[in-house]
């Protein structure tokens, strides 16, 4: 399998190690009331789909970045590669903006901003791919 690294271009999968389902980015809140259940699910239960699967790969023998790779588990085809940090940051900023904004209008702007940010990141990635 060849993973198209957003910074480094196509790299062989053997340079990477895989952690598992990308939902591991979303660590549950340990102070929440249902933390027991949430951590049980987080740690042990998996969707394990046949088909598209978002998963965390670590470029261990490269730039040591974490990637979110969308891969088809039936064909091994890699559909999309993104930096895990971008995805985590986007999720966090979305969360904090949603939490901060009290008006619906504010929420809308936040969502729009995140969307714009996402597109921007994607564009940069594509640019880097070419170079």
């Amino acid at each position: 399998m060849i993973i198209n690294h957003p910074h480094l271009g196509p790299r062989d999968a053997s340079e990477f190690s895989i952690l598992g389902d990308a939902s591991l980015i979303n660590r549950p809140d340990w102070q929440a009331g249902d933390a027991d259940d949430a951590f049980y699910s987080y740690l042990y239960l998996r969707d394990n789909p046949a088909g598209l699967h978002r998963e965390l790969w670590f470029h261990e023998q490269g730039d040591r970045s974490w990637l979110v790779v969308t891969r088809d588990t039936v064909t091994h085809a890699i559909i999309d590669v993104a930096l895990a940090s971008d995805i985590a940051k986007a999720a966090t900023s979305k969360m904090s903006k949603v939490n901060a904004g009290k008006k619906t209008a504010a929420k809308k702007t936040a969502a729009k901003k995140t969307a714009t940010k996402k597109t921007a990141t994607k564009k940069t990635a594509t640019k880097r791919d070419v170079t």
Binding site: I18, G20, Y40, L43, N48, A50, H53, T73, T75
Partner: protein, 416 residues
């Protein structure tokens, strides 16, 4: 038809015209007492033991493809009981005992060959850990012998004892371990179950479970609705996919494991040999091919094929301990889908849905477990309580923190 030397002679003298089909090909009935989903080794063994040891009647095995098309026909045929943990060793030892009497039980030649397994050790620390494991095995009634380098040399003179990186210092031998003809195990169980009235229904895809108020009452299949008193699922690599239809998320990931075979050679390898410093295991089939394997590929997969880096890694493992195989030509390689559990140990248990039972999480050790898995799953289905050697193989052990982690790798399925 009972197979024996007399039936063989009789058929030979009559021109082999009277051999009967080995099992029937029945249409499914609308209701069974017990339906087993999955016609692999474990499912067929379950049906056989339900009928033969628990006196159950009216049983069906539903198989999506043809029986023996999954991992029972794709493994490296190794049978052993060299485990460490209390929750595992009695189970696998029970399995080995069943293997020893299997051919008589099912009246079928499974080519069970107790040619022994040797786990090599390469350091003093590893020797100590093998002593510990050997003692654990003996405490549970299994056999284990620690070999020093001289003893090992007399058995396997061809190993690379002078390897600078991984010197071979000795091995842990289990003489009763060995290999069995994997396809024959599936066919033998199928035939024996069929003779006891079990309906084996092939090309019958389970598309949904009938669940009402938390009770499972049957399955929807490509051959129509089949109602059942109890439903047992034993579908290995497809476990998550099938159980998702019942709304369950499980502590399982599906991974691909590759296996390899060379051209046929004269007898060179006496039993099963495993590398202690990497992951490599090898035996020689009765046809002469060297059958070997190593690690799983490491990423989730439902494709029954893997990639080349693992291929290379496995071959490097082989070359590190027995350079003589370097000139053998590869004949085939293939892959199977493993139901890797979160602690590397299996699950034979009820599910949160009444009358729905689960047999899964075999990682890549399912073949050796086939008889005990069938027996324990049959016990659970018939009696609604776990068999005495399977009391720790529970689905809720992850929530309780009662993991059976032989390797100590934690909740990381691709490391087990």
């Amino acid at each position: 038809m009972h197979y024996s030397i007399w039936s063989l002679i009789n058929q030979a003298l009559t021109g082999n015209r009277n051999w009967a089909p080995v099992w029937r090909d029945p249409e499914p009935k609308s209701h069974y007492d017990i339906v087993i989903v999955g016609g692999g080794g474990h499912g067929l063994a379950t049906a056989f033991y339900l009928a033969s040891r628990y006196g159950m009647k009216n049983i069906a095995v539903l198989e999506k493809g043809w029986i023996g098309s999954g991992n029972i026909g794709r493994n490296t045929t190794i049978v052993r009981s060299n485990y460490l943990l209390d929750g595992n060793e009695p189970f696998y030892e029970k399995s080995l005992q069943l293997w020893e009497g299997l051919e008589q039980d099912i009246n079928y030649n499974a080519m069970m060959s107790q040619r022994g397994i040797i786990n090599l050790y390469h350091s003093d620390a590893q020797r100590d850990s093998y002593v510990r494991r050997g003692n654990a095995m003996r405490l549970h009634g299994a056999d284990a012998e620690l070999l020093n380098q001289d003893q090992l040399r007399s058995l396997c003179p061809f190993l690379d004892y002078e390897n600078a990186r991984f010197p071979i210092m000795g091995g842990l031998l289990q003489k009763r371990a060995g290999t069995a003809r994997h396809d024959a195990v599936a066919w033998g169980y199928a035939r024996a179950a069929d003779q006891r009235g079990v309906d084996i229904i092939q090309n019958c895809d389970v598309t949904d479970f009938l669940i009402k108020d938390g009770v499972c009452t049957g399955v929807e299949t490509s051959k129509g609705t089949i109602r059942a008193g109890k439903i047992g699922v034993a579908v290995a690599g497809s476990t998550s996919r099938v159980m998702a239809k019942a709304g369950l998320r499980l502590p399982i990931e599906s991974h691909v494991l590759q296996a390899f075979v060379t051209e046929g050679l004269k007898p060179v390898i006496p039993g099963v040999i495993t590398f202690g410093a990497g992951h490599f295991y090898i035996s020689q089939s009765d046809k002469g091919g060297l059958v070997f394997g190593g690690d799983i590929d490491g990423y989730n997969s439902y494709a029954q094929r893997g990639n080349l880096p693992v291929f290379e890694d496995v071959c490097e493992g082989g070359m590190a301990i027995m350079p003589m195989i370097g000139r053998a030509r590869m004949l085939r390689n293939w892959g199977g889908i493993m139901d890797m559990s979160m602690d590397g140990s299996p699950i034979i248990d009820k599910t949160p849905i009444d009358h729905l039972y689960l047999n899964a999480g075999w990682c890549y050790g399912g073949f050796k477990a086939t008889p005990a898995s069938g027996l324990c799953f049959a016990h659970l289905l018939a009696r609604d309580e776990p068999h005495e050697v399977a009391t720790k193989l529970r689905l809720d052990r992850f929530r309780r923190g009662a993991m059976l982690d032989e390797r100590g790798a934690g909740a990381q399925p691709n490391l087990h």
